[in-house]
C-alpha cells in the first residue's frame, strides 16, 4: 500500500480534513444564529436590504406556514426560477453580454439546463464556453446556483423546526428562510471565496475571447468570462456546474494547487458545518457529532481506496515501456484525464468529495478513471447523496436514514421508536422510505429505458462495460442531483435531455415534499421526555447501526448494476 498512498498524499488528505474541522464550529454556529433569526455580525449591513425586500413584496417574515403552505410556496418559487432561466437560455441571442454572439439554446437543452440548475444538480449537456453568453452564465446560472442552494437549506431548517416544535403546525416562513440564507450565508461566503480564487489566478472579466498566435505559429482562441464569482458559489452551494466545459479541470477555473485546495474545501464546508448547526439548533451538539462521525467513517475509507486505485495506474499501459510509478519527479498513476498540477491525490480527493457532497464539479475526467477508482464516485451518489450531500439536502437526506435507523433499532429492542423526543410512527417511516427509495427507482428504471432504446444506446461513447457505466452514472447523477458525469456519454440529445430532466425533478421534489410532510407531522407531536427506554442516538453503537443501514440500502439496491459495470470493466483491464 505504501507505494500507492505516499506520505505526501496522506498529508494532503490530513490537511484537508484539518481545515474542515477548524471551520466546523465557527461556520456551524454562525449558520445556527442566522437560521434562528438572531442578530449576527453582518446584520447592520444586511438587515436593511432584507427588510426592503420584504416591504417591496409585502412579505411578513414572521408569519408561520404549515407544511403544505411551505411546500406550495417553495414549488411556486422554484417554478419562477425555472421559467426565468428557461427564457434567458432560449432567448440569449437577443440579450446583452454576449460577445461571442451565441444563439439561443434548443428547447430540449434549455429545459434540461433550467431543470438542472433549479434542482441544484447542475448536470451539463453543453460546453459552457462554446454555448452560453456571459449574461446566461451570470443572471441565469449564477443566480440559480445561489437560489437552489438556499432552497435546500430552507427545507433543512423547516425540518429542524419540525423536530423542535411542540404541537404546532408552524414550520417557519419560506420567504424569510430563503432570503436570509442567500443574504447572510451564501452571498458573503461567496464573495470571500471569489476574491481568494481571483488572487490565485481564476479569471474575472467581460472581454471578448482572446485571439493569439502560438509560438509554433498556430491560431489560438482563448475563452474569457466572469469566472471567479460563479466558481465560488458553484463550490459553496454544492452546485458544480462549470463555467467551462471541463469544469474545474480548466486552468482558468482552477489554475493552481491553492485554488484547488480552496475549491475542494468549499465543496464540503457548508455540508460539514451544518452538522454543528443541527446540533446547536436541537440543543444537543452530540447529535450533530454522531451524524458527522457516520459521514466521515464512510467517506474516509472509500476516499483512500479511490486514491490507491488511481495511483496503481492503468494496467493496459504496462504492456508499453511507460513509467507509471510515483516518485519525486512525477505523480505517476492513471494520468489520462488528469491535470499535471493536481496529479493523483487531488484528483481522487476531488472526485470523492464532489460525489459525496452532491456537488458534481470535476477537476479530472471520471470516465477515464480506473474502473474501481470510478466506482467510488458512483457509490457515493448511490448512497443517496447523504454522506455530506448537498447543502441542506444532504443533512435532511441523512435524517431520513436516521429515522429509519431509529425505527429498525426500536423494533429490535421492542420499544416505540423515538428521536429527539418525537415518536416515530408509520407516517414518518412512510415519508422517510419514500425519500430514500424514489431516487433509486428512477435510476434503475431510467437505466433500463436508456439501454433498451436506440436513442439511449446512441449516446454511449466507450464500448462494453464502460458504456454501461456511462449510462448508469448519468442516471445516478441526475436522480440524486449530483451533476457529475462519465462525460463520454453524448447526452445533448432530446432523449437524454428529457429523461435526465425528469429524473432531476423527481430526485429533488419527491424528496423535498416528503421531507416537509415529515416536518409538519413531527411539529404536531408532543415532546416525550427521555426515559430509560429511550435509545440514545449519539452513541458509537447508534452511529454503527446508522452506517450499516446506509450501506445496506445502497448495496442491496445497486450491487447487481455495479457488478455489470465497473467490476466487469476491472476484470477486463487486469486480464490484458
Amino acid at each position: 500500500m505504501a507505494h500507492l498512498l505516499t506520505m505526501n498524499g496522506l498529508l494532503q488528505l490530513v490537511a484537508y480534513f484539518l481545515i474542515l474541522a477548524i471551520f466546523y464550529i465557527p461556520i456551524g454556529n454562525y449558520m445556527a444564529n442566522v437560521f434562528s433569526g438572531k442578530t449576527t455580525v453582518l446584520s447592520p449591513i444586511v438587515k436593511p436590504i432584507e427588510k426592503s425586500i420584504y416591504n417591496l413584496l409585502s412579505i411578513n417574515p414572521e408569519k408561520g406556514m404549515n407544511w403544505r403552505e411551505y411546500a406550495i410556496t417553495l414549488l411556486a418559487f422554484s417554478f419562477a426560477g425555472f421559467v426565468l432561466l428557461y427564457l434567458i437560455l432560449l432567448f440569449q441571442g437577443f440579450l446583452p453580454f454576449n460577445p461571442q454572439k451565441f444563439a439561443g439554446l434548443s428547447p430540449h437543452l434549455a429545459f434540461n439546463t433550467a431543470v438542472s440548475f433549479i434542482t441544484n444538480t447542475n448536470w451539463q449537456s453543453y460546453g459552457g464556453e462554446s454555448t452560453l453568453s456571459y449574461f446566461s452564465q451570470m443572471a441565469g446560472l449564477c443566480t440559480q446556483n445561489f437560489v437552489s442552494a438556499a432552497v435546500g437549506l430552507s427545507v433543512l431548517i423547516a425540518l429542524i423546526r419540525g423536530l423542535n416544535g411542540v404541537e404546532t403546525s408552524d414550520i417557519g416562513n419560506f420567504w424569510a428562510d430563503v432570503t436570509r440564507t442567500n443574504l447572510y450565508i451564501l452571498l458573503p461566503l461567496s464573495l470571500i471565496v471569489a476574491i481568494l480564487l481571483g488572487l490565485s489566478g481564476v479569471i474575472q472579466n467581460f472581454q471578448n475571447y482572446l485571439e493569439i498566435t502560438t509560438l509554433e505559429g498556430a491560431k489560438q482562441t482563448i475563452a474569457m468570462g466572469p469566472v471567479a464569482s460563479q466558481e465560488a458559489i458553484k463550490m459553496l452551494g454544492t452546485n458544480g456546474g462549470g463555467f467551462f466545459n471541463v469544469n474545474s479541470a480548466h486552468p482558468f477555473e482552477n489554475p493552481t494547487p491553492i485554488s484547488n485546495f480552496i475549491e475542494v474545501v468549499s465543496i464540503l464546508l457548508i455540508p460539514v458545518a451544518l452538522c454543528q448547526t443541527y446540533g446547536v439548533m436541537v440543543n444537543d451538539k452530540k447529535q450533530g457529532l454522531a451524524i458527522i462521525a457516520a459521514m466521515v467513517l464512510i467517506f474516509a475509507p472509500l476516499l483512500i481506496f479511490c486514491v490507491t486505485q488511481e495511483q496503481a495506474g492503468n494496467h493496459v499501459l504496462t504492456t508499453l515501456n511507460i513509467d507509471q510509478s510515483v516518485n519525486s519527479l512525477q505523480a505517476g498513476g492513471n494520468m489520462e484525464g488528469k491535470e499535471t498540477r493536481f496529479g493523483i491525490v487531488n484528483s481522487a480527493l476531488w472526485a470523492s468529495a464532489t460525489t459525496a457532497a452532491s456537488n458534481g464539479s470535476v477537476n479530472a475526467m471520471h470516465d477515464s478513471f480506473t474502473p474501481l477508482g470510478g466506482l467510488v464516485p458512483m457509490v457515493f451518489m448511490m448512497f443517496g447523496e447523504v454522506i455530506f450531500g448537498g447543502v441542506g439536502s444532504g443533512l435532511y437526506g441523512m435524517l431520513h436514514f436516521v429515522i429509519m435507523t431509529v425505527f429498525i433499532a426500536g423494533l429490535m429492542v421492542g420499544r416505540t421508536p423515538e428521536y429527539l423526543g418525537k415518536k416515530i410512527q408509520s407516517y414518518e417511516m412512510k415519508m422517510a422510505s419514500l425519500a430514500v427509495l424514489v431516487p433509486s427507482l428512477f435510476v434503475l428504471i431510467g437505466v433500463s429505458i436508456a439501454l433498451m432504446t436506440k436513442a439511449g444506446q446512441a449516446g454511449i461513447f466507450n464500448n462494453g462495460a464502460q458504456g454501461f457505466s456511462e449510462v448508469l452514472y448519468a442516471l445516478t447523477s441526475a436522480a440524486n442531483n449530483n451533476g457529475s458525469a462519465f462525460a463520454g456519454l453524448g447526452a445533448n440529445s432530446p432523449f437524454y435531455n428529457t429523461l435526465l430532466g425528469v429524473c432531476m425533478l423527481a430526485g429533488r421534489y419527491w424528496i423535498i415534499i416528503p421531507t416537509l410532510a415529515l416536518a409538519g407531522s413531527l411539529a404536531g407531536k408532543k415532546h416525550i421526555p427521555i426515559s430509560a427506554g429511550t435509545l440514545p442516538t449519539h452513541t458509537p453503537l447508534f452511529v454503527g447501526i446508522l452506517i450499516g443501514v446506509i450501506i445496506l440500502v445502497g448495496v442491496l439496491t445497486y450491487a447487481p448494476s455495479l457488478a455489470l459495470g465497473p467490476v466487469v470493466e476491472h476484470l477486463h483491464m487486469i486480464k490484458e
Binding site: N8, L57, I59, T73, A76, F77, L84, G127, S130, M138, A139, C142, T143, V147, N182, L183, S190, L191, A194, G198, L199, Q204, T214, L215, E216, Q220, A223, M224, P226, A228, S229, I233, F244, V246, A249, H250, P251, P255, P257, V316, L317, N321, D323, S328, L329, G332, E336, G337, K338, E339, T340, N346, A364, M365, D367, P371, Q466, A487, E569, M573
Partner: protein
C-alpha cells in the same frame, strides 16, 4: 386574487430581485475588486514579450510538435489545445483508442531518441483533463532534454537549467504536484522572455 396566484406573483418578484443582487451586483462587485487587486490574473495571466505583444497565457497550454520545443500533455480538444472548447478524452482504461494514442506519442518520441531502456513518464503519453494543461511533470520534461539539446545544438545542461527555472514545486511543499510550465520553457529557449 386567490392565494396561489399571489404566491406565484411574489415568487417571480423575489426571483427577479435575487437575479439583480446575486446575478448582477455580486459578479460586478467581484469584478471591480479583482480588477483593483489582481488585474493580471483577472484577464488571464498573460505573458507579454519585451515589445508588449501577447505571447500567450501562462495558464493555457499551446501545442508543440517541433523537436526543438518541449512538448506538453496530449490534448483531446478537436484540434489540440483549442482554448475555445476545452475537453478531455473521456477514454476508458480499456478503450483501444487510448492505447493507440499512447503508441503514436511513443513513436514520435522514439523518432528522436533511440534509448529503449529509459521508461517514458506516463503524463507524456496521456491526455490531460482540460486539453489545455499548461504543464508536465519534471520527469516528462527531463526525458526530452536530449532531443531539444540536439535540435538546438546546445548542451543538455543549459536546457535543464531552463526547465528548472520554469518548475514550480508543491505549494508549501505540501499541496499539488511539482510541474514544469511548457510554454515558459519554450519562450525561454527562444529567448523571448527572461
Amino acid at each position: 386574487m386567490n392565494n396561489i396566484a399571489k404566491t406565484t406573483l411574489k415568487s417571480f418578484g423575489l426571483m427577479l430581485i435575487f437575479t439583480a443582487i446575486l446575478g448582477g451586483i455580486y459578479p460586478m462587485i467581484t469584478s471591480l475588486l479583482l480588477e483593483g487587486f489582481a488585474k493580471p490574473q483577472s484577464i488571464g495571466s498573460l505573458i507579454k514579450a519585451k515589445d508588449g505583444s501577447i505571447l500567450g497565457s501562462s495558464l493555457i497550454g499551446q501545442n508543440f510538435e517541433k523537436p526543438k520545443y518541449l512538448w506538453g500533455r496530449l490534448s483531446a480538444t478537436s484540434t489540440p489545445y483549442d482554448a475555445a472548447a476545452s475537453s478531455g478524452s473521456n477514454l476508458g482504461v480499456n478503450n483501444p483508442v487510448l492505447l493507440e494514442n499512447a503508441k503514436a506519442r511513443i513513436e514520435n518520441l522514439k523518432k528522436y531518441k533511440n534509448d529503449e531502456n529509459t521508461k517514458i513518464p506516463v503524463d507524456l503519453v496521456t491526455a490531460s483533463g482540460s486539453g489545455l494543461d499548461p504543464e508536465i511533470s519534471p520527469a516528462a520534461a527531463y526525458y526530452q532534454i536530449p532531443r531539444i539539446a540536439k535540435a538546438r545544438g546546445i548542451t543538455g545542461a543549459s536546457v535543464k537549467a531552463i526547465i528548472d527555472k520554469s518548475t514550480k514545486k508543491r505549494t508549501l511543499n505540501l499541496l499539488g504536484e511539482s510541474r514544469v510550465n511548457v510554454l515558459e520553457v519554450n519562450l525561454r529557449l527562444d529567448g523571448k522572455i527572461d
